[in-house]
């Protein structure tokens, strides 16, 4: 079965500092990968998704970017963090194709101070 690793698990960063959250997956090849953000412990907002290496689609305009340098690696970045970037960031995957279940990682808590 597939597993999703996210790190760091928690992060406290000052406003204006850069960000890099990493997600790696195991147990599946060529997965669809997703970054979601969950604010205030509630709703999940899709930020980015990727169907393959170097292929990134953005769902909402924002201060963040994503990259997929390897098949099983998905990175969420920012050059300068804003207070509003605080939240719980979740990496997720589904198997290749359009018809499969989405599974979530354990998340990374980001607090911007």
């Amino acid at each position: 079965s597939q597993t999703i690793h996210q790190w760091p698990a928690t992060l406290v960063q000052p406003v204006g500092s850069p960000l890099s959250l990493e997600c790696t997956v195991e147990g599946t090849s060529n997965p669809n990968l997703y970054w979601y953000r969950q604010a205030a412990g509630r709703g999940l907002q899709l930020l980015f998704y990727s169907v393959g290496i170097g292929q990134i689609s953005s769902e909402v305009p924002q201060n963040l970017s994503a990259s997929r340098p390897q098949d099983r690696q998905f990175i969420l970045s920012s050059k300068k963090l804003l207070l509003s970037d605080s939240g719980f960031y979740l990496c997720a995957l589904s198997r290749a194709g359009t018809g499969n279940t989405i599974y979530f990682g354990e998340g990374s808590w980001l607090t911007v101070v």
Binding site: R42, L44, L46, Y49, V51, G99, N100, T101, G105, G107
Partner: protein, 112 residues
């Protein structure tokens, strides 16, 4: 229309009672409707899911009821237990790359 509307926002149930959470959607292109359970500080975990050609699916104490004509679906938790206390999210999957649109979540508290 990509929204999924979920209600109630919070729910308190006594142990042994039935918990019912409702969701409604607009986009008839959605083809898969999962429910996720999330404990504090953890990622959401798939609980149960249904496809629109089925009206009901049951797994243990958890049942999804699906009404295609009304574009509504609901989660029923029978014999609710304190360990079921969590946030529950309904979701709907679009035909594009398996993207999920989530409801806003329901915080369920089951009192012993």
């Amino acid at each position: 229309q990509q929204q999924v509307k979920q209600s109630p926002q919070s729910l308190i149930v006594q142990k042994g009672g039935i918990s019912i959470i409702n969701c409604a959607y607009e986009n008839t292109a959605f083809d898969y409707f999962p429910w996720y359970q999330q404990f504090p500080g953890k990622g959401p975990a798939l609980l149960i899911a249904i496809r629109p050609d089925v009206s009901e699916k049951k797994e243990g104490r958890f049942t999804i009821s699906f009404n295609k004509s009304a574009k509504q679906f609901s989660l029923h938790i029978m014999d609710s237990q304190p360990g079921d206390s969590a946030t529950y999210f309904c979701a709907a999957r679009g035909p594009s790359y398996g993207k999920l649109t989530f409801g806003q979540g329901t915080i369920l508290t089951v009192h012993p």
